[in-house]
């Protein structure tokens, strides 16, 4: 098991290097630099631009810049500095004096770590995940047990809505609805009370909830037809025991294995929802960086997202190996 996990983690490295390379090439293909592309604000004068370009090393050879950013290289004082592989994601071009890792991972002063942007996104993703599991799984189980009844059709219709309609469109509908009903404040002043998290967490979790419900239903239907269920019934087990011990336990294997990718999807996929609800998370910082053409911020956040997704993909195979002993992984 350990060698397998190590091997999978090692294969992440070339993938991440390529992701970093592609992002870097695309960022450099963009005409203009981060200083001269702010049409709304005052333009930075030519001399300052030149100094800034030199300060951030943007006048160097692009390949050298990339290796410096990703691996290591000399900085302007001639010292060798470790790059992204040491977790050093570089300085932000727009929020001067801050590095990307500070913007993403450092909480406001005097607050615990989960008040950082990453922490906020993580907490929102966990809440959304809870919504998805606590509603999606029972929904799928019930509609499989009551296949082809009104309940089944209703649950499957709702989950088809959730699977196909993008989350920001769901957010639009719900924001307008709740605004008309005057039920809750959409953009709260503080995110300290739990009530204000409900709507964004639900909107974010709706798609995952629907996928979970559909997957649970499909896998339950598969299990219901198995011989061991007939065996369990014929040896006289109570129906409740058959359902909980034999059906659900087996049916949830595929559902549990995709929890990791789901969580990663919720963290990385939340940027539009975060923007719509003015949520102080990583995703909104990313969207802001896009608007400001803060290249190092875009690059750093993309790398963080890519790491999360790669880890999640690996987690599927590992979790599968633990849950289902029939699958041998090495």
């Amino acid at each position: 098991m350990v060698p397998y996990i190590l091997r999978r983690l090692l294969t992440m490295i070339p993938v991440l290097i390529i992701v970093s390379g592609i992002t870097f090439i695309l960022m450099h293909a963009a005409p203009g630099g981060p200083w001269d592309r702010d049409p709304g604000a005052r333009q930075v004068d030519a001399n300052t631009q030149k100094l800034l370009t030199e300060y951030y090393g943007l006048d160097k050879d692009p390949f050298f810049q990339w290796t410096t950013y990703t691996f290591f290289g000399e900085n302007k004082d001639g010292k060798v500095v470790c790059g992204a592989i040491c977790g050093n994601l570089g300085p932000s071009y727009r929020q001067r004096g801050m590095t990307i890792q500070q913007i993403l991972f450092a909480p406001p002063e005097g607050r615990p770590w989960y008040y950082s942007r990453f922490g906020y996104s993580l907490r929102l993703a966990f809440l959304a995940m809870s919504v998805a599991i606590l509603i999606g799984m029972p929904m799928g189980i019930l509609s499989a047990l009551k296949q082809n009844t009104g309940w089944d059709y209703a649950a499957m219709f709702i989950s088809t809505l959730g699977v196909s309609i993008p989350s920001f469109v769901v957010a639009i509908f719900l924001i307008i609805l709740f605004n008309e009903l005057d039920l809750i404040t959409i953009v709260p002043k503080s995110w300290d009370s739990l009530g204000v998290w409900v709507l964004p967490a639900f909107v974010l979790g709706f798609g995952t909830m629907s996928r979970t419900a559909r997957l649970t239903r499909a896998s339950m239907l598969e299990v219901i037809r198995q011989d061991y269920i007939r065996t369990a019934r014929s040896k006289g087990l109570a129906e409740g025991t058959v359902i909980t011990r034999h059906m659900i336990k087996n049916a949830l294997i595929p559902v549990v294995t995709i929890l990791g990718p789901n969580l990663a999807g919720l963290i990385t996929g939340s940027f539009i929802i975060e923007t719509m609800f003015s949520f102080p998370g990583m995703g909104r910082a990313y969207v802001t960086a896009i608007g400001q053409r803060d290249y190092s911020m875009i690059m750093g956040t993309t790398l963080v997202f890519a790491i999360l997704i790669s880890l999640a993909n690996i987690s599927v195979d590992i979790v599968y190996g633990f849950i289902d002993p029939r699958i041998r992984i090495d």
Partner: protein, 327 residues
């Protein structure tokens, strides 16, 4: 003797042969959800094609003084302006007719749904055929490439590509739509190729391929005449399932302000005027005061995406009855 012909007809009916495809079509049209999906899709296609004839207003004409009108069935909007029967769905910030803009927006969504999907299907099928049939290095290359593409969050990739190349020559073709098509196709073909490859791997061991080889058929003939028609079912299903993803991506990018560039000159109306994503982006600024600006494009996107999902589900059930009822 006069009554006999009707009897003959009843006897002939069961004799009529139905091909496998006819069978699948029969299963498809018996599925109510997918028929509803097809009707919605056809309706939106007609709207997209004849947007100019349906809309009674120019989608780009600025009516000064009549900005932010509410829809016709609301007497007075939040801003106190009375509605006008001329603007059925009201007007936007600049006093442009919302209905006309939504109707024209259908064009972009339909084309974005179809064109990149076709590219994806063609490229993916050919690459998948080659990788699956010849195996070896081709197969290895494809698999390694997929590993990279799949570990890149695709929406982030689209966002980065749109930012980077938006102001270049490619980014300006077709109001920015060309770049969008290219980006969507670039990521999309990989999944398609994997599906086709899987099909080919199992099909090439079948007896009919062996038989074809025995009578001296060349590789190309076996690939395109024997294997591909048998893999067509999954290819069609994949195609139908790809379309909603494309439409959603366009809407998302438009909503982020990274989609197509909306046209603005009312005297020179291009084919692609604006898209639903762009409309939602414009409407988002006034989400509390003027919600109908957002509601209409949001409803349209949801309807079209749902319709394609239902059609895709129906196609899967029809073409692959073994898969019925699963996920």
């Amino acid at each position: 003797m006069a009554e006999t012909p009707s009897k003959i007809v009843t006897f002939e009916l069961p004799e009529k042969r139905r091909s496998l495809w006819g069978d699948a079509w029969y299963r498809l049209v018996r599925n109510k959800a997918s028929v509803a999906g097809m009707i919605i899709i056809i309706a939106f296609f007609l709207v997209a094609m004849f947007a100019g004839a349906i809309a009674n207003q120019n989608p780009l004409e600025v009516h000064s003084g009549t900005d932010y009108l509410p829809p016709a069935w609301i007497e007075k909007g939040v801003n106190g302006k009375p509605s006008s029967p001329e603007f059925l769905l009201g007007t936007d910030t600049l006093g442009r007719d919302v209905l006309a803009r939504v109707l024209y927006g259908a064009r972009v969504s339909m084309v974005v749904g179809i064109v990149p999907t076709l590219i994806v299907l063609i490229v993916g099928t050919i690459v998948g055929l080659i990788a699956g049939f010849f195996g070896g290095i081709w197969d290895n290359l494809l698999m390694r490439f997929t590993d990279i593409v799949w570990s890149f969050p695709d929406l982030l990739f689209f966002i980065i590509i749109m930012i980077a190349l938006r102001d270049t020559f490619i980014g300006n073709l077709l109001n920015g739509l060309f770049l969008l098509f290219a980006a969507l196709a670039m990521v999309g073909w990989v999944g398609e190729a994997r599906v086709v490859r899987g099909q080919v791997l199992s099909l090439k061991e079948k007896e009919f391929v062996e038989a074809a080889r025995c009578i001296g058929a060349k590789n190309g003939r076996i690939m395109f005449k024997h294997i591909m028609p048998n893999a067509l079912g999954p290819i069609i299903i994949m195609g139908a399932m790809t379309v909603p993803g494309m439409i959603i991506t366009e809407a998302t990018l438009g909503f982020l302000g990274l989609g197509m560039r909306p046209a603005s000159d009312p005297n020179n109306l291009p084919f692609f005027v604006t898209s639903w994503g762009v409309l939602m982006n414009e409407g988002n600024a006034a989400i509390h005061a003027q919600p109908w600006l957002l509601l209409m494009p949001a409803i349209c996107v949801s309807l079209v995406v749902l319709a394609f999902t239902f059609l895709g589900d129906g196609l899967r059930d029809a073409l692959d009855p073994r898969m019925q009822g699963t996920s």
